[in-house]
């Protein structure tokens, strides 16, 4: 049997000899430099009082966060507030994605459905989800449903757009392959549409998730008694910059973790993407 070895390229990374320049040029070293500089400048801004008393030192933020873990704030510990925001996001995100993703697929697969939905969708699409807050509060009150509603709106648009485009952008020749092998329309959908649209759907979920975070914060700033948006608002009312900055840091960390979870899920569900995208 013929060997195919002559077609394989093996890329071996050559090791350069150890030197100081290597460390100075190393990615990790530069990461450390960048972060250290950031915290030093932050600390300097706080200590020098350029912004008056409205800036807290990084150290004070850390102490504030540590206190909040044990001492309840407005009846909830830090984790209570994290969970309050996360819960809203999970519910809204799940509803929005569950509605929008299949609808996007259906629109891409059936031009009649597309013709019915598209004009309505194009009407809603350019509107920022936060624009719905006032009417949502009028409709659903200041409780949980209005916040979840905003998140559903914020999730809906990117999810639908991505699953729709994910199917629309498939190379039509892939359908030809299935047809030449004796497959029917059902086989085309099963073997081409779904798997091909998967990465786009996941990209949509990622965008939706960050949109959901903006939405939950905005909703909590307007009316809430818990959540990370509420913490930052409380910090503003009480004039406690450490509380505001602490809230912001926690928001960043939690949003980052949820994004990682979706990325992880994509890696599990789309094994063929492994090693393709490497940032």
């Amino acid at each position: 049997m013929t060997s195919v070895a002559n077609e394989i390229h093996i890329r071996a990374r050559e090791r350069a000899p150890f030197s100081v320049m290597i460390i100075l040029k190393s990615r990790w070293f530069l990461y450390a430099v960048s972060l250290t500089a950031f915290f030093l400048i932050w600390d300097y801004v706080a200590v020098s009082r350029i912004l008056g008393s409205a800036m807290a030192r990084p150290y004070e933020v850390a102490v504030q966060l540590n206190t909040m873990m044990t001492d309840p704030l407005a009846g909830k510990s830090l984790f209570g507030h994290i969970w309050a925001s996360t819960q809203r996001i999970l519910i809204g995100f799940a509803i929005g994605a569950a509605l929008a993703t299949p609808l996007g697929l259906l629109m891409a697969l059936n031009r009649h459905i597309s013709a019915v939905v598209k004009p309505l969708f194009d009407l809603i699409k350019p509107m920022p989800p936060i624009a719905w807050i006032s009417i949502a509060i009028l409709w659903f009150g200041i409780g949980e449903p209005s916040k979840v509603f905003i998140i559903v709106i914020g999730t809906f648009v990117p999810c639908l757009l991505n699953s729709y485009n994910g199917v629309r952008l498939i190379d039509p020749q892939l359908y030809d392959v299935v047809r030449m092998l004796g497959g029917n329309r059902g086989d085309e959908i099963l073997h081409v549409c779904f798997p091909a649209a998967f990465p786009a759907i996941f990209a949509g979920l990622q965008i939706s998730l960050s949109s959901a975070w903006s939405c939950v914060l905005a909703a909590e700033l307007v009316s809430a008694r818990s959540g990370l948006g509420f913490i930052t608002l409380l910090g503003m009312t009480l004039s406690r910059p450490a509380l505001i900055l602490g809230g912001m840091v926690v928001i960043a960390v939690v949003a980052w973790v949820t994004t990682l979870l979706v990325t992880g899920l994509e890696k599990i569900l789309c094994p063929w993407k492994r090693g393709v995208i490497d940032i």
Binding site: M1, T2, S3, V4, N6, E7, I8, H9, D171, Q173, L174, D176, V177, V178, R179, M180, L181, G182, G183, D187, H191, V192, P195, A196, F198, C270, P271, W272, G275, V276
Partner: protein, 254 residues
């Protein structure tokens, strides 16, 4: 059986409608016959309608005039009696080598055990053993097209249609793949229609070369029988003579 025509194209013309109403004629009055287990090469420069002709035979396009007969039956739509190999491979990136190759048998509802056997057989035939679990993005261009060939073969078609399958490969890999194509075809004979714009490739592979005139619409130019014994040598005197003859007659050298 051996001398009967497997594929007959009768006066095929094809027009596309571009930008709403502008009509573009890509093929004009093409008639050709392919014998059982014959290796026919369709040779022509770019924009001569070669791929369209192949897609019409595949049943993916309908001719504006004329018809295609396979085994005496008119072609109406795609079918698994013909296997198509694409210029741009068209592998499913989400399927492994095995997953790609076994799709045909799977769609036809073949049992697991039998499917495994056939899939492995064709993976071995194209020389991709030990790469069964690789995804297409992990393969080189030549290996990808091997998967494309194995996928078409695994569905056990009576006719293999190859649309400039090595157009994207570098010269060396291309030459190697041409050798492989001959080997695979000699191992498991099929009626083959192979589209190319490369004269050397045409002479190296074909029993017969059907050349198209350049520039749209594509029209029949000439038919050259290649009476050379296999395996062929690119430097063989007769090879070069035929090459010269085709080059002289065609407007390939633009």
């Amino acid at each position: 059986m051996a001398n009967e025509d497997k594929i007959i194209c009768e006066h095929i013309s094809k027009e596309f409608i571009q930008k709403g109403k502008q009509r573009v004629r890509v093929l004009e009055d093409i008639s050709l016959e392919v014998k059982q287990n014959e290796f026919l090469v369709i040779l022509g420069p770019g924009q001569a309608g070669k791929s369209t002709l192949l897609r019409i035979i595949a049943g993916l396009e309908t001719p504006t005039q004329g018809r295609v007969l396979v085994d005496g039956r008119e072609v109406k739509g795609a079918g698994s009696d013909r296997g198509l190999v694409f210029q741009s491979y068209m592998l499913f990136p989400w399927k492994t080598v095995t997953g790609n190759v076994e799709l045909g048998p799977k769609l036809r509802g073949m049992s697991n055990k039998e499917r495994r056997k056939i899939t492995q057989h064709y993976i071995n035939l194209v020389g991709l053993q030990n790469f069964e679990k690789h995804y297409p993005h992990q393969l080189s261009g030549g290996m990808k097209q091997r998967v494309g060939i194995a996928r078409a073969y695994a569905n056990n078609p009576e006719v293999m249609l190859l649309d400039e399958p090595f157009g994207q490969l570098d010269a060396q890999t291309r030459y190697y793949m041409e050798k492989e194509t001959t080997r695979i075809w000699e191992t498991e004979k099929r009626t083959v229609i192979f589209v190319t714009n490369n004269i050397d490739e045409a002479i190296y592979l074909g029993d017969r070369i059907f050349s198209l005139k350049g520039k749209l619409p594509g029209r029949m130019h000439q038919v050259y029988p290649v009476g050379l014994p296999r395996p062929r040598e690119h430097t063989d005197m007769k090879f070069l003579e035929l090459r010269h003859q085709i080059t002289e007659a065609s407007d390939l050298t633009l």
